[in-house]
Amino acid sequence: MTYRWGMVIDLDRCTGCQACVVACRQENNVSFAGEDQSGKGRAKFWMNLLVEIKGRTYPEAEMHFFPLPCMQCDNPPCTKVCPVEATYKNPEGIVAQIYPRCIGVRMCISNCPYTVRYFNWFPPSWPQAYEKGLNPDVYRRRKGITEKCNFCIQRIRRAKEGARKENRKLRDGELVPACGETCPSEAITFGDLNDPKSRVSRLAKSRRAFRLLESLGTEPKVYYLKEGDWDDGT
């Protein structure tokens, strides 16, 4: 059976440190928009961290965090509207973007109910010192095309190559995207949803599990565990 990659984000464990946001930016060569352009809505966050503050003063004040990558829908609204098939759902369930094919129509962006697709309004740029640290495994994109989170597809590819040499399937937990690897509170779990014994499959069945805007029928493969009573999904 093929893999079906999924992610579980435990909101109770998330401390809002934004390490996932930084690690993702580093791993995937997500360019910097700068303060001015961010104000115009040109910032890119393949992994975003939403913050909600309730109440003003201690002890009533409460902060809630919500990491937001691409939902990797099983029924993605974005792929079917592309007139040139520059985006598609790959056999392992990842909604991937084919950069050389993209002509920048942006209909995928407007049809994404999660607003997690990003456009290159200008040629991508990084601070000079940062450019040396760009990931050589990842294409840097160019102006006029759309980009998005792809569950660190380059890591998946490399891990699968390694496993194939040893003639075996990937082990659960062997492969993690940059956001999951860096998360200090281990809030992000990644794995194969087709394997019922994988940690991600068990957590997805937790009583705490929910998916974002589930009523739209997009069938996201990113699950959230809501804050509240603990449950390991066992």
């Binding site: 007139p83 040139v84 993209c102 002509i103 456009f119």
Partner: protein, 425 residues
């Protein structure tokens, strides 16, 4: 009738083709500046990226899409109205025929150009044909618009052939052009027969094609998950709005042509009166659709829809929304009921065209800036780039008319003549 006699009888219609004075050059100059400026702007945008516009997230589609829908809308009246009027033998519509068909072709040239401006990689626009995916509504658009452009260009051209034949005989200095375009027209019985047959087929063919075009244009929005776009009445709503704005454009162009070229003898108040009644019908239809659309969302819509609805009714888009209602209904309705005179129609039509542009704006932008997830909500304001391109399109559209009217008669001579013969017995 002999060509010389015919040319003398319709001297007033052929007059603009004969002399090119300084008002013409001033007009061309004034329209040419914004038109050429838009080429520079496009180059600027192409070199620097779409970031020079006001677009961003979440307003990733904006003024270009508004202009796209607006111009395609205008293109509807033309072929559709003139073919429906022909099929129903509504004689009063004959003098408007040529203008209506030309409006269609020029608006259809202006509309899809916006997609070219809007693409991240404009030079790769032909990939839509090369790698076309029929599951995408955009490809349906591409197919329908190209079909409509072909059919309506043929429509304009075929209906012009007998007149071009007349021009070839009356303007020896431009014979090289008209000779080629007249397609060997001699006015023989066999040619007339074929012409009538061709027109008959095109008249019928153009109706479903025109309806399909604005249907799929509406589906570019209606098939998406955005709140207030996902509506089942979008297709008829858009088609109605398209014909509405199109008729208004025909009236504006006709009144301007009538005034500038002194065509009062052909475009008579009674012709305008009937066209005004048609416009009144569409004013009411448009108001009905607008009311239905917003009432249903307000009564049964979810919180995401309500966020968009209230931003239109009483929020940041309220000034534009209510301006649209005033321009599309409050101003034209009483005028069209009580005062279908030429100045009255002119005011009503100008109001409608501006109002319909605002309608496209208030359909597209508020939904985009209020996406489902509240964190992504944002704002949009066009920059000089979008305004320059809009000005370029409008002036290009007008310029096309100015040049067209200097090369071809804006009133179909042979059709008016035929009707005169039939009417006069």
């Amino acid at each position: 009738m002999e060509p010389e006699l015919l040319a003398r009888k319709y001297d007033q219609v052929l007059e603009p083709l004969k002399k090119i004075g300084w008002p013409f050059w001033i007009t061309v100059f004034l329209l040419g500046i914004p038109f050429l400026w838009s080429f520079f702007t496009f180059g600027w945008q192409y070199a620097h990226g779409l970031g020079v516009t006001g677009m961003g997230h979440p307003a990733s589609w904006a003024l270009y899409l508004v202009n796209f829908v607006f111009f395609i809308g205008i293109s509807h009246a033309g072929a559709l109205v003139s073919s429906v009027l022909r099929i129903t033998h509504a004689r009063w519509g004959t003098p408007f025929g040529r203008i209506a068909e030309a409006v269609t072709v020029f608006a259809l040239a202006a509309g899809p150009t916006n997609i070219l401006f809007d693409l991240g990689r404009s030079v790769r626009f032909y990939w839509v044909a090369l790698h076309g995916q029929f599951k995408s509504p955009l490809l349906w658009d591409f197919t329908c618009i190209m079909t409509y452009l072909t059919v309506s260009t043929l429509f304009l051209y075929i209906l012009m052939i007998p007149d071009i034949g007349l021009l070839r005989d009356s303007f020896p200095r431009r014979r090289w052009l008209y000779e080629f375009l007249s397609f060997g027209w001699k006015g023989s019985e066999r040619q007339w027969q074929r012409l009538r047959k061709g027109i008959g087929i095109l008249c019928v063919a153009v109706i479903p094609v025109a309806v399909s075009v604005h249907t799929v244009v509406s589906w570019v929005f209606g098939l998406q998950k955005q709140p207030m776009w996902h509506s089942t009445i979008f297709a008829p709503y858009f088609v109605t709005g398209a014909i509405f704005s199109g008729i208004a454009t025909i009236i504006i162009v006709s009144i301007v042509m009538r005034r500038v070229y002194h065509l009062e003898g052909f475009l008579k108040p009674e012709n305008f009166n009937n066209l005004g009644l048609l416009l009144l019908t569409f004013t009411l239809l448009w108001a009905y659709f607008t009311f239905v659309e917003h009432l249903v969302v307000g009564y049964g819509g979810g919180p995401e829809e309500h966020a968009v609805l209230w931003s239109k009714l009483s929020g940041r888009y309220a000034p534009l929304f209510w301006a649209m209602v005033v321009l599309c209904f409050v101003i034209p309705f009483p005028l069209l009921v009580f005062k279908r005179s030429v100045p009255g129609l002119f005011i009503a039509s100008v109001a409608i065209v501006i109002g319909m542009w605002l309608e496209r704006y208030t359909i597209i932008i508020p939904s985009l800036v209020e996406p489902r997830l509240p964190h992504a909500r944002g704002a949009y304001a066009p920059t000089w780039v979008e305004w320059s391109m809009t000005a370029g399109l409008v002036s290009g559209f007008a310029l096309a008319f100015v040049l067209f009217s200097k090369l071809f008669p804006v009133i179909s001579i042979w059709e008016v003549e035929k009707e005169g013969e039939e009417g006069g017995g």
